[in-house]
């Protein structure tokens, strides 16, 4: 009980620190005082002002939003499928987005079109999996999982096909998109709103999710309608993923491991787990993205590489230490 509260408080403190770190790092040296002045809207130092407000702040907020979206979506899908290996991409949402995004790049469309089509692709994949998994007799977790995994594999094949056919000049951009890259993420408003809305909806069902962890029959016997719950959770998690993928491509690892780290630390009560996922996922991706753009500057790395490089050892350490 107290331990969970403590974790939430620590995470609440860490999130602004991660933001601060993201804002102060970069090719232009900005001191703490200048940063503070710029944040308060003081126009004395025009360069610092411009860099903070036009470049670093939108990007840091985007990273936070994407991290939060992915971790929340991962936590929801792990309960929905009752499978610890589930991550936001397991049901093919990101595959649909990737195919649409890559086709748009192949067609030479601008970043705005790539985004819009990626979102549309994610939605198409979401409804495709939903519809196909409901054909036939009963809608079970395994049916949903299998349908999603197979559709994802189908998207994977199309992605490989596009990569093989694409002119080599375009392949690097495509790879960055597939690994997850925040270089073009400058409009965080939509994603932040989706994050807040998604958290609000899933908190509404947080206690019901605790029941779903014990199984569908148990949930039904203890007072939840599991079918309704499953449909809502599926739609919410897919929309969260679609939003994240649209902004940053398929950043890996965050959605799989952040929920597990928090379960190891504070247990699986979703009233704790879901907000903690948003805070830790957001903070983690903010820091990872800052490292991705400053570590090998002026060369920018795709953030998906950093999340895995940071996350794997941390997670293994926790896993080993938890008995």
């Amino acid at each position: 009980m107290n331990r969970r509260l403590l974790i939430i408080l620590i995470l609440l403190a860490v999130a602004p620190l991660a933001m601060w770190f993201a804002l102060s790092q970069g090719s232009l040296n900005i001191s703490a005082a200048e940063l503070w002045q710029a944040l308060r809207g003081n126009p004395d130092n025009a360069t610092a002002n411009l860099v903070i407000h036009e470049l670093r702040l939108p990007r840091a907020l985007s990273a936070f939003a994407v991290g939060g979206l992915l971790a929340l979506s991962g936590a929801l899908l792990q309960v929905l499928l009752r499978n610890p290996l589930a991550d936001p991409y397991i049901l093919g949402v990101s595959g649909g987005a990737a195919v649409a995004a890559l086709l748009s790049m192949l067609g030479g469309l601008g970043i705005g079109w790539v985004r819009g089509n990626a979102f549309a692709g994610a939605l198409i994949s979401m409804f495709l999996v939903f519809g196909l998994s409901r054909l036939g007799t009963v809608w079970t977790q395994n049916r949903l999982l299998l349908t999603g995994v197979v559709i994802a594999a189908g998207w994977g094949a199309l992605i490989s096909l596009i990569l093989a056919l694409a002119p080599s000049a375009q392949v690097q951009g495509m790879l960055f998109w597939l690994i997850g890259d925040m270089s073009y993420s400058q409009q965080p408003a939509m994603a932040l709103m989706a994050l807040v809305a998604g958290l609000a909806v899933s908190m509404w069902f947080a206690r019901a999710l605790n029941l779903l962890l014990r199984g569908e029959n148990t949930a039904a016997a203890l007072g939840e309608n599991p079918t309704r719950l499953r449909i809502i959770i599926y739609l919410v998690a897919s929309l969260l993923t679609a939003m994240a993928v649209t902004l940053a491509g398929s950043v890996g690892f965050v959605g799989l491991v952040i929920p597990h780290i928090l379960r190891l630390l504070g247990g699986s009560d979703h009233r704790f787990l879901l907000p903690a996922c948003v805070l830790l996922g957001g903070g983690f991706l903010t820091i990872a993205d800052t490292l991705a753009r400053s570590w090998t500057a002026p060369v920018q790395l795709p953030v998906g590489v950093i999340t895995a490089l940071l996350g794997v050892p941390v997670f293994l350490l926790l896993l080993v230490r938890s008995r």
């Binding site: 009752r82 962890l213 014990r214 569908e216 029959n217 148990t218 939840e224």
Partner: protein
């Protein structure tokens, strides 16, 4: 006055009729047992009583209300179910698991309070698991995990308990203790139990009424003293039985 009534209830699975036009009323204060061979439809019948499975014909009603139509949360305050085998779950502690029994009693935004934790403690003590609240489920034995499930049912505190093989995984002592505990609950006002049991002798010892599910959907129900005899049981299980009389109790053993 709570009562469960099956009217012309028919159930089938994969084209096989399990129970054909069963009409029976279960009243408070009674302790029912469902007996039948493997695959005779005991669990299916229990789920139909719980409203978790729609009947293929007829009705199940709780105080004149179709049981499947009652909102889940309202129903969960009246009917508790102990499943035959818990579905494999994510890692959780004993406390977290048993607390889920309070779900139907709490509002959406309400956190579990002192009373709920007290209910969990009492339930754990009742099944002999006091002091294990913080243990992860994975570190418990099969029998201990079964008792965690039973503690969750006690915490749910529903007047009607549907028990699918409650003695699964339990040793001799705990079989008797748990069945005694559950039978005691059935004697409270407005309370009753329906349990699936494989052990005929335990059924005879703790039950008061029985439903026997024969092949081809034929069923027989009534006070156990009337329906529980060698002829019926031999027809039920398709095996020869020996009847053993010891003072005023009768036991049955397979030959």
């Amino acid at each position: 006055m709570s009562s469960l009534r099956a009217e012309e209830l028919s159930l089938s699975i994969a084209g096989r009729r399990l129970c054909d036009k069963l009409t029976v009323t279960l009243h408070a204060g009674e302790n029912w047992v469902i007996l039948g061979a493997n695959g005779s439809g005991k669990t299916t019948l229990l789920h139909a009583f719980a409203g978790l499975r729609a009947p293929d014909g007829g009705h199940v009603s709780l105080d004149d209300r179709e049981v499947g139509g009652i909102p889940h949360r309202v129903r969960a305050r009246t009917i508790g179910v102990l499943f035959q085998d818990p579905e494999p779950a994510f890692p959780a502690t004993v406390l977290e698991t048993v607390l889920t029994g309070r779900y139907p009693h709490l509002d959406r935004w309400q956190w579990e309070g002192k009373d709920d934790y007290r209910a969990v403690e009492a339930a754990l003590a009742a099944v002999g698991l006091e002091g294990l609240a913080q243990r992860p489920l994975a570190t418990l034995s099969g029998g201990e995990r079964r008792r965690v499930e039973i503690a969750t049912l006690l915490t749910q505190d529903a007047p009607i308990c549907l028990l699918d093989e409650p003695t699964n995984h339990l040793d001799l002592r705990h079989q008797i203790e748990i069945l005694e505990l559950l039978a005691d609950r059935a004697r409270r006002p407005e309370h009753f139990n329906i349990g699936v049991l494989h052990d005929v002798n335990l059924a005879a010892r703790f039950g008061t009424f029985g439903i026997l599910l024969f092949d081809n959907g034929e069923c027989l129900h009534g006070p156990l003293s009337e329906v529980l005899n060698r002829a019926n049981l031999e027809r039920l299980y398709h095996c020869r039985l020996r009847e053993i009389h010891d003072q005023d109790t009768v036991g049955f053993l397979p030959l």
